[in-house]
């Protein structure tokens, strides 16, 4: 990549693959994923941390990739939607999103799924109100919200069933 005179070297792991990359210090994690690593499943909706479309996991926690400087991800372990499942081998949450129609245009969906995967590991409690609150940082302009809640609940309940079994 040509560009800025000032370049920084970072090493990070994305979906299990280690990358050593020279970056423009202004680069966000979101633009690094999309424009340098061609991981375009993570979307840019607002670039201001207001819509949630760019949600990814850094070291196991959900973060907004547009508000995260790539330079601060040196040594980080990043997981994106491409690291969750594939069209041929879906993660159960992806299956549940399809079954419950938890999306329409699909643009916010990567962020919704990454957010939900993290939320399922966070201490939110089991009821719909808690899941709605946990998922309210991810805007779906098509309005699939009740279906998203249903999809997350299905996976949460089956995980709970698995633990109790």
């Amino acid at each position: 990549m040509a560009a800025s005179a000032h370049q920084l070297r970072i090493d990070l792991t994305v979906n299990g693959t280690v990358h050593g990359i020279d970056i423009d210090p202004r680069t966000t994690l979101l633009d690094l994923l999309r424009e340098t690593l061609d991981l375009t499943g993570t979307k840019k909706g607002c670039n201001h941390g207001q819509c949630g479309a760019c949600t990814v996991h850094v070291n196991g926690k959900r973060v907004l990739a547009c508000l995260t400087l790539a330079a601060l991800c040196d040594g980080a372990d990043v997981r994106t939607i491409e690291g969750v499942g594939t069209p041929e081998k879906l993660h159960p949450l992806q299956d549940a999103f399809i079954a419950h129609d938890g999306f329409q245009c699909g643009y916010c969906t990567s962020g919704q799924i990454m957010s939900a995967l993290a939320a399922l590991e966070e201490p939110w409690g089991p009821d719909d109100a808690a899941i709605k609150e946990a998922m309210s940082g991810n805007i779906c302009r098509c309005g699939a919200y009740p279906n998203i809640v249903a999809a997350v609940q299905e996976v949460r309940k089956s995980a709970e069933g698995g633990r109790n079994a």
Binding site: A2, A5, Q50, C51, L90, I98, R141, C142
Partner: protein, 744 residues
């Protein structure tokens, strides 16, 4: 039509679901040129509302490593002059040609484009461009007395905007109760989560564009015109679009600018609009002021109706928010006057936003109906029944299919309308509770559409048409339609859309795609069926009169079963048939018919309002819709949820503020323009009557993308009145509208 279909109407999961849930679906900004990487582009926009550009200072850019080029009107004729917003071949959101001259008409107008090797450099360079202006007087304030006022004759559908019948003054004299009130709706923005984006790739004089557009064919014709190339040399690809809601409907200047820049720098250029760009680059719903007069006799029969809408347009865009179109059609009333006027202002251009006219118009009309019911001491549902008509009031035609009274009945039953109390009288703990309702309606439109149907040697069917799935479920609906016609499973159908090289279809707007493709698919399947039967006869078979079934890799007709691989000669690989319909319905100048086509529905809302803080919540909304045959129960329900969610936003949250001095939008971000989030949405109860409308198309479907948003804001406003006794005549309704007067 097989009414016991195993395919049509079933809640089949989206066929594109695996791509969308894994990040594998590629939207405009996700595509890459076949070779190399695109250059990145960032728009430079005017910061003044009126005047001319006297110069650009680019000195800070030249030293930036990775900066490639700045493009503006100073580059000469990069783009061919576009004289009309509608050129016959295309409809554009604005009638001006980008970079044509030094004139500035509104804040946010595109005046330059920075192209750089990386996005970071392009963004820094765009910020570093210093623009010198000579400002001139701008008309920004809505009430500016010097603004030109126009009374446009027609909306873009061809429908009349100035309607008069009978004698309104005489009707007012007959009345025992009259409501006369002014309702306002704010500037609203579409805010699809995908910002508009264009990747332009030239190969000689051939141009490929990956564009976030609701209309690939329209886009192709616009860009071909602006670039002075044969439309055959332009291909627009839009396999996935991240929502549109109208702002990607008519094509906009940024697409042309990206194409022009790519030609100028002789490299692929990717232009992704920022969220802030989205507020001034591709339209909004303009502010409306609507004076509604409703007069009724003692029985509640309307004796006069008047609906005067004032709105505005920009200097370069001709959108009119047609709020009164519903009023001219819906209720029986012999004395009626509907007018629309627009002020010409130095503001960004308006454009259709999900149910243009119907959404703000029914807020006013259906609020006024609620006020009239209150004055008459009538139940609001009864008032609507009293004025129900089976005749289209605009032209005296019968409806092709209208079951609105059933919608009222079912909706009232489902929401528990009988629980409703007098205004301000229903308390539950610290909450004031209320119920409200409104009528929903949206025209049935259909446009000429062609399709290509293909059977390959595996026995797989393919359907191709240049339409697009903006989230509506069209991929799945098309698979279902073809599967139905050949007695097979949707899994056996491959759907090709989102490519302007396919047989032409309409843009995704006006809730018309399903009805349009229905007629085309029906004809395409007939054509393929005929070809296949002829082929079977050529092979020495005698297919019976039974419908041709294509399933399990074989063609069957009655007892006959022949593998597709035998039917299709090895040297051709596939049998292709084309079909379609040239008919237009619902637009002026369409097919001559003695019927009118419209969808209807009833929306009911329950609100709960905190007595201390005035916080408004919507625990439940019920929508019952008469939208013809439902093709897919799952995706149809989702569209209705989405429309009602849009309605909650319109009723309680959404508003763009403009600064009257500078002409700038004050809150162009998702942090300051509030849209509903998951926690804002509660129970939705959606029912569709599912009564086919075969006069409209062979699958009996009408559109449903927009009707679900119509009436929702009035139903909520009427519920707020019922809960509190406070009538709010503007949107959005916020707690500070209620706080001072809440009943204790």
């Amino acid at each position: 039509m097989n009414v016991n279909s195993t395919v049509i109407g079933k809640p089949i999961s989206r066929v594109d679901g695996r791509l969308k849930t894994t990040g594998a679906a590629r939207y405009a900004a996700d595509h890459r040129p076949v070779e190399g990487r695109p250059l990145h582009a960032v728009l430079v926009k005017s910061s003044i509302a009126s005047g001319r550009i006297t110069g650009f200072d680019l000195s800070a850019l030249q030293s930036m490593s990775g900066f490639v080029r700045f493009v503006s009107h100073l580059d000469g004729a990069l783009i061919r002059t576009i004289k009309n917003p509608v050129d016959g071949a295309f409809a554009a959101g604005e009638e001006y040609t980008p970079f044509e001259n030094d004139r500035v008409h509104f804040v946010g107008q595109h005046i330059g484009l920075v192209v750089a090797q990386t996005l970071e450099v392009a963004e820094a360079a765009a910020k570093a461009v210093v623009v010198d202006y000579e400002t001139s007087a701008a008309r920004i304030e809505f009430a500016d007395p010097t603004a030109e006022v126009r009374q446009p004759d027609l909306y873009n559908t061809g429908e009349e905007l100035q309607v008069s019948r009978g004698h309104v003054e005489a009707g007012l004299v007959e009345a025992v109760e009259i409501v006369k009130a002014t309702y306002t709706t704010p500037i609203e923005h579409h805010n699809p989560i995908e910002p508009s984006a264009t990747l332009a790739v030239w190969d000689g004089d051939h141009l490929t564009i990956y564009d976030a557009t609701q209309g690939s064919v329209n886009d192709k014709n616009y860009v071909a015109f602006g670039m002075s190339v044969d439309p055959k040399n332009v291909r627009v690809l839009n396999p996935f679009i991240g929502g549109g809601f109208g702002c990607k409907g008519f094509t906009w200047p940024h697409t042309l600018i990206a194409a022009a820049a790519a030609r100028a720098v002789e490299q692929p250029v990717l232009l992704v609009l920022s969220r802030k760009d989205m507020y001034t680059s591709c339209g909004h719903r303009p502010y409306t002021e609507q004076e509604v007069t409703l007069a009724a006799d003692a029985d509640g029969v309307l004796t006069a109706t008047r609906h005067r809408t004032q709105s505005y347009r920009s200097l370069v865009g001709d959108h009119v928010e047609p709020c009164g179109m519903t009023t001219a059609m819906l209720y029986q009333c012999d004395n009626l006057e509907v007018t629309h006027s627009v002020r010409v202002l130095n503001r960004p251009s308006g454009t259709p936003l999900r149910s243009p006219g119907e959404a703000p118009g029914t807020f006013a009309l259906e609020s006024a109906m609620d006020e009239l019911a209150e004055k008459l001491g009538m139940d609001p549902v009864d008032l609507r029944r009293r004025n129900h008509t089976d005749i289209d009031q605009r032209n005296g035609r019968k409806w092709s299919s209208k079951h609105l009274l059933e919608c009222y009945d079912r909706g009232a039953e489902k929401i528990g309308w009988g629980r409703r109390k007098a205004p301000g009288q229903w308390r539950d703990g610290n909450d004031l509770v209320g119920l409200g309702m409104a009528t929903a309606c949206y025209p049935g439109y259909r446009m000429p559409t062609q399709t290509r149907l293909t059977l390959d040697r595996d026995g797989t069917l393919h359907v191709g048409v240049a339409v697009q799935d903006i989230g509506t479920g069209l991929y799945t609906v098309l698979a279902q339609m073809v599967a139905e016609r050949f007695g097979t499973s949707p899994e056996n159908v491959r759907v090709l859309i989102g490519d302007s090289d396919l047989p032409p279809g309409p843009l995704a707007g006006g809730s018309m795609t399903t009805a349009s493709v229905a007629a085309a698919v029906d004809d395409g399947c007939r054509a393929l069926s005929e070809k296949l039967r002829a082929r079977l006869v050529d092979m020495g078979h005698t297919p019976g009169n039974e419908p041709l079934v294509i399933d399990g890799g074989a063609l069957r007709s009655g007892p006959l079963s022949v593998p597709a691989a035998e039917v299709i000669p090895t040297d051709v690989h596939e049998i292709v048939a084309e079909g379609g319909s040239d008919d237009t319905y619902g637009f002026t100048g369409g097919v001559e018919t003695d019927k009118s086509f419209y969808s209807f529905g009833a929306i009911f809302a329950e609100v709960r309002i905190d007595r201390d803080f005035g916080i408004i919540r919507v625990p439940k909304m019920t929508g019952v819709f008469d939208v013809g045959r439902v093709i897919n129960a799952k995706t149809a329900r989702s569209q209705m949820l989405g429309g009602m969610t849009f309605g909650i936003g319109m009723a309680l949250m959404e508003e763009t503020f403009i600064d009257d001095k500078t002409g700038r939008f004050v809150n162009p971000s998702l942090g300051e323009y509030y849209v509903p989030v998951n926690a804002d949405v509660n129970e939705f109860d959606v029912e569709m009557l599912d009564i086919p409308d075969y006069d409209f198309n062979p699958f009996g479907a009408r559109g449903l993308g927009e009707i679900s948003n119509v009436g929702a804001s009035a139903a909520i406003a009427n519920a707020v009145y019922n809960a509190t006794g406070i009538r709010v005549r503007h949107l959005p309704i916020r707690l500070d509208d209620l706080l001072e007067d809440l009943p204790r």
